[in-house]
Amino acid sequence: MEKTIRVLVAKPGLDGHDRGAKVIARALRDAGMEVIYTGLRLTPEQIVQAAIQEDVDAVALSILSGAHNHLLPRVVDLLKEENAFDDILVLGGGVIPDEDIPGLKEKGIAEIFTPGTATQVTIDFIRNNLKK
């Protein structure tokens, strides 16, 4: 049977702006993926435990608070602690300055999607970069 791609869409930290996350969730749904939408204000620990229990292929993190340099690498580190990073693609999105992007990629975030990215770009990236 064909594999259904499962993606966790989550918002780490304290900002309450979830329009972007909802648009991405809807776009991935329409691309035939199962989106586990977990809502606002999550800790990296909650996100990683949800990703493991849901056995997702990708975690898409939306963040607009400015705390991305702290929170996104923390998710990667926790996934590594659980030996799950080899299976799960980690993506970031939101208001993230260009100069921060290389550092985030170095720490294991596969790609960063900033405002204005076409949803199809994100969909294609997930499809082409699955780890398992």
Partner: protein, 320 residues
């Protein structure tokens, strides 16, 4: 990943991977499951059903939190609808349960219904077994928001909780056949709203007509503020005791197993007749002829069936 030992050791990653694999009918995972089946059967399985927005997820969250205080291990399977057009889904029940995510004694899994119309997905049965083997004391299955006839949940669980809210319809709705008949426990959630007492009375009046041994209790609850949850948990444990003392426990599980076996046979037959690559074109060809009125659907069905039976017989003839 060593699924067999991982599952026996109750590792969350192995449990999660097993559920993904049975969702796509992976034969290796089903083999592991059949070897481990003897370790299942200890969990109490509770179905939570009701219309969309009735508060099923919030209620499940609260039930789980209260049972955790008693040290029970809890698994939750939350089913949401899958798009019939794209196969995609938004699984949003976890939003109400995020605080449970990091509790080591809790496992939450969201499932898309994937084309199954009974309120749960086809793989839900298998997922329940996996969680049962993994040693969870209670397994909650939260159905998709249901209407009037999605009653598969009753064939999968020991106790069914029907979550109602005030203001959905008059007493005639409560008289109708289908979903109102399968509940072991009724909950009137959001009972701080207008009409909660009336809803409770209407359900009670409907129950007055029933002559079964177990009379479902009707409990008013406000899940968001944890009101009435203790009483509801007492209802669940009373029902559990009733099942054991009346002997209904085993007879119910026998009925459930029967339904499951028949379901599996149906799937296999459909797979053989409809989905087998050699037959896919035949089905399309007949469909076209039926639509053009060259042949009727009953004859088409008979022809496809007899062709498959012939294929099976030929195949077995060769083996001998």
């Amino acid at each position: 990943m060593d699924l067999y030992n991982g599952l026996l050791n109750k590792e969350k990653r192995a449990i999660a991977r097993m559920i993904s694999l049975v969702e796509r009918n992976d034969s290796e995972a089903l083999e592991v499951l059949s070897r481990l089946y003897k370790f299942s059967g200890n969990a109490h399985i509770v179905g939570i059903t009701g219309p969309p927005g009735a508060g099923k997820s919030t209620l499940t969250d609260k039930l789980a939190k209260n049972l955790r205080k008693e040290g029970k291990k809890i698994a939750i399977i939350a089913v949401d609808p899958t798009s019939p057009f794209t196969g995609g889904a938004i699984l949003g029940d976890r939003i109400r349960m995020n605080k449970l995510s990091t509790d080591p004694g809790v496992f939450i899994r969201s499932m898309g219904a994937r084309g199954h119309l009974g309120g749960i997905s086809k793989a839900t049965h298998a997922a329940v077994k996996i969680l049962d083997i993994a040693g969870y004391d209670y397994i909650f299955i939260e159905t998709v928001g249901v209407g009037q006839s999605e009653i598969d949940i009753v064939k999968t669980t020991d106790t069914v909780i029907m979550v109602m809210v005030p203001g959905l319809g008059d007493d005639i709705q409560a008289l109708k056949a289908g979903i109102m008949e399968i509940a072991d426990i009724f909950v009137v959630n959001k009972s701080d709203r207008d009409g909660a007492d009336r809803t409770k009375v209407e359900i009670e009046m409907m129950l007055d007509f029933s002559c079964s041994q177990w009379r479902p209790p009707v409990t008013k609850v406000i899940a968001t503020i944890d009101k009435g949850i203790d009483e509801l948990l007492a209802n669940v444990s009373e029902h559990k005791d009733y099942l054991v003392s009346s002997g209904a426990f085993l007879s119910k599980r026998i009925l459930n197993s029967e339904a499951e076996i028949i379901g599996l046979i149906k799937d296999k037959i459909i797979d053989r007749i409809v989905n087998a690559s050699s037959n896919k074109n035949d089905v399309k060809m007949y469909a076209e002829r039926v639509a053009k009125r060259e042949i009727d659907p009953y004859t088409a069905c008979a022809k496809l069936l007899s062709k498959s039976v012939k294929e099976v017989n030929d195949g077995e003839g060769k083996k001998n």
